[in-house]
Amino acid sequence: MSLFFVFLDLHLQKIPRVVFLGLTAGLLCLFAQTAGAQGKTFKNDMAERTRACTACHGEQGRAGPDGYYPRLAGKPAGYLYNQLKNFQEGRRHYTLMTRLVDPLSDAYLEEMAVYFANLKLPYAPAVQAKVRVSDQLLQHGKKLALEGDSSRGVPACNTCHGKQLTGIQANVPGLLGLPLDYLNAQLGAWQTHQRKAATPDCMRDIVKRLESEDLVAVATWLSTQNMPLNSSPAMKIAEPLKAPWRCGSAPELSRVQP
């Protein structure tokens, strides 16, 4: 390859411009073709092993195109693993997921979770709401997300989901970069007990205290927020949870950490 460039370099002045351009274009095509073919060759790696996942969740788990299949890339590994187990053990319900994970071992599910957690990909800018939403709704959602509602004993989302709402290692997911449809469906599923987490299920206790309008407001606000520059989950919770709050899926939140 370098020989070819040397050749080009030496003879550049003698070759008409058009021929040079043609050669470059041809070379680029050749490159593109081999790259494409390489994408098709079989590799004994996790990308190959998770084809069944990425068919819906997008290439490298960067989210599906239809606004329902959430992003997997870069989410905390513990969170992803817990979700796979939740599908397997009937705390979350989606036939396609359940049938896929059913025959797999814990070790393999964990390997898959770690694989997607370690894929650091840039986020696309947040999609603005398709229908016009009132400022009032957005303000209400923002208040719930960042301040909570002490009158109903509802903590702010950012108490547990990271100051920047990008999640906390290793078990709490970020709330940004998710499509509105997905957020609405999940909060709705928690409301109707279709989605559960390991007991004590803190999300269930929180959703129980909220009305449907509150859930829509907070989902709408979250879905319109851009990801901060550093999208990685926080390493630990800013202040350990005080009793009686405890989360079965993320017991470390209640512990004072060094």
């Binding site: 098709k40 079989f42 004994n44 190959e48 092993r49 998770t50 084809r51 069944a52 996942c53 990425t54 068919a55 819906c56 397997q88 053990e89 009937g90 705390r91 036939t95 396609l96 049938r99 896929l100 994970v101 059913d102 025959p103 797999l104 071992s105 070790a107 393999y108 390997e111």
Partner: protein, 445 residues
């Protein structure tokens, strides 16, 4: 013509007498174990710990825990729903919990459940519990199983498990219906060794016909949901679940006669072979049961099944007419071009241009028996839902197939399946969109 009144009276009495006798006969038939004391005495020659360890192995041979555990619930605590054409049946709690489980049972009660299909209180069990098969289990093995179950953590059920009488359609859950069924189709039995065969063959037959209850899926059930024989492995469609369990004796379906004993054993242990992948309910069986079997047992079952298939092949040679009938497809050019387009878009990357697959990762479709089965149910299931083979010690990180239920419609699935069944030397009947539609509808999507 008129008959005098007393004639009708005698007529009625005659019928009542016949019905009464029939009823009494069924009653006697179902409860004769109470007065015929043929129960072998319990064995005491094994040390308790050894016995429990042996029982643990037997539990995996029978895949007991898998059916007696609900999703996400305590091991052995029951409550898993089984849908049948007659309604639902929930498995029972077999942990040593004294209120919900077998805590108050003794080895005699347990033996009676396995051998006679009766609960401790004498209630007749529904044949969803495969006592047509478990009746073959020896008293010694029954005691070992019970010892292993005693070692499970005792688990209570948060909600009471519904009784079959509440969940089966009337009248199937009534004691009378179950008694009649048992009189027609169930006879307590023991495994009788075939002297002509090796001990290994006999061990395999004892496991396959009894504890492992292979024929519960691998044979057709009649209109009453009963099996004609526990050593009939001629294949059958699982009702409600909607998977076809292929014939274990047919050369076209599983071809065990032409495989080595080691290969058959390896398939049961790993869930995958160069020839086939265990999917659907069989993946579950491999995951929870066969991958944990001792090599000697795997080899015994493989020896027995291979021999059954070989015997069948000899019978088939004498009467070749029906089994050799091959259906050839002649799909329209529209179907052909749609099928090859879909194949190129969605399948070729893994299964390759010539359907040769990638060894160890993606199965070959060319000359693959699963592709050529008359009944396309499993193929439609695979395309709709995709799936992974069971993760086993021999195949801990399997490759998977994505679901296509949201991407392909009935017409497209039918065309691509027809493509697979008619390419690369494959010769099987065309799959129609109507067939795909019916299978999809049975899945509730």
């Amino acid at each position: 013509m008129m008959f005098p009144t007393h004639f009708w009276r005698y007529f009625a009495i005659l019928w009542l007498a016949i019905l009464g006798l029939l009823g009494a006969a069924i009653l006697v038939d179902n409860h004769q174990d109470i007065w015929t004391s043929t129960t072998p005495t319990r064995s005491t020659d094994l040390h308790q710990q050894e016995q429990a360890a042996k029982g643990q192995q037997l539990l995996s041979l029978g895949n007991c825990i898998s059916c007696h555990t609900d999703r996400g619930a305590a091991m052995g605590a029951g409550g898993r729903a089984f849908e049948t054409p007659f309604g639902k049946v929930y498995s029972s709690n077999i942990t040593p919990n004294s209120e919900h489980g077998l805590g108050t049972w003794d080895t005699q009660d347990f033996w009676r459940a396995l051998h006679h299909g009766k609960s401790k209180d004498g209630r007749l069990l529904t044949p969803v519990f495969p006592y047509q098969h478990t009746t073959l289990i020896t008293r010694e093995d029954s005691d070992a199983l019970f010892a292993a179950l005693k070692n499970l953590p005792a688990a209570a059920n948060a909600k009471p498990i519904p009784k079959p009488s509440e969940t089966l359609d009337w009248p199937y859950g009534t004691p009378v219906a179950i008694a009649v069924w048992r009189s027609l189709f169930f006879k307590p039995g023991t495994y009788v060794s075939e002297a002509r065969q090796s001990p290994e063959w006999n061990r395999g037959a004892y496991i396959a016909q009894g504890l492992a209850h292979c024929a519960a899926c691998h044979s057709e059930r009649n209109a009453w949901g009963a099996l004609t024989a526990i050593n009939d492995f001629s294949g059958g469609l699982l009702p409600v679940l909607n998977w076809y369990a292929p014939s274990l004796t047919s050369a076209h379906e599983t071809g065990l006669a032409n495989q080595s004993v080691a290969d058959i054993a390896r398939f049961l242990k790993s869930g995958q072979s160069a020839q086939a992948i265990a999917s659907g309910p069989m993946a579950e069986v491999v995951q929870h049961s066969t991958q944990h079997w001792l090599d000697a047992d795997l080899s015994a079952v493989a020896t027995y099944l291979k021999d059954m298939a070989t015997q069948q092949a000899r019978v088939a040679l004498k009467t070749p007419a029906e089994s050799e009938k091959k259906s050839k497809a002649s799909p329209s050019s529209k179907v052909v071009s749609l099928g090859s387009k879909i194949y190129e878009q969605h399948c070729e990357q893994c299964h390759q241009r010539q359907g040769q697959g990638i060894a160890g990762a993606y199965p070959a479709l060319a000359n693959n028996r699963a592709i050529l089965l008359n009944d396309p149910t499993n193929l439609v299931q695979a395309v709709l839902y995709g799936g992974y083979p069971a993760a086993t010690q021999l195949n801990p990180r399997p490759y998977g197939m994505p679901p296509y239920i949201l991407e392909l419609d009935d017409r497209e699935i039918a065309a691509v399946l027809t493509h697979l069944r008619t390419q690369w030397g494959n010769q099987a009947a065309e799959v129609t969109p109507l067939q795909v539609n019916r299978i999809r509808a049975l899945q509730g999507h």
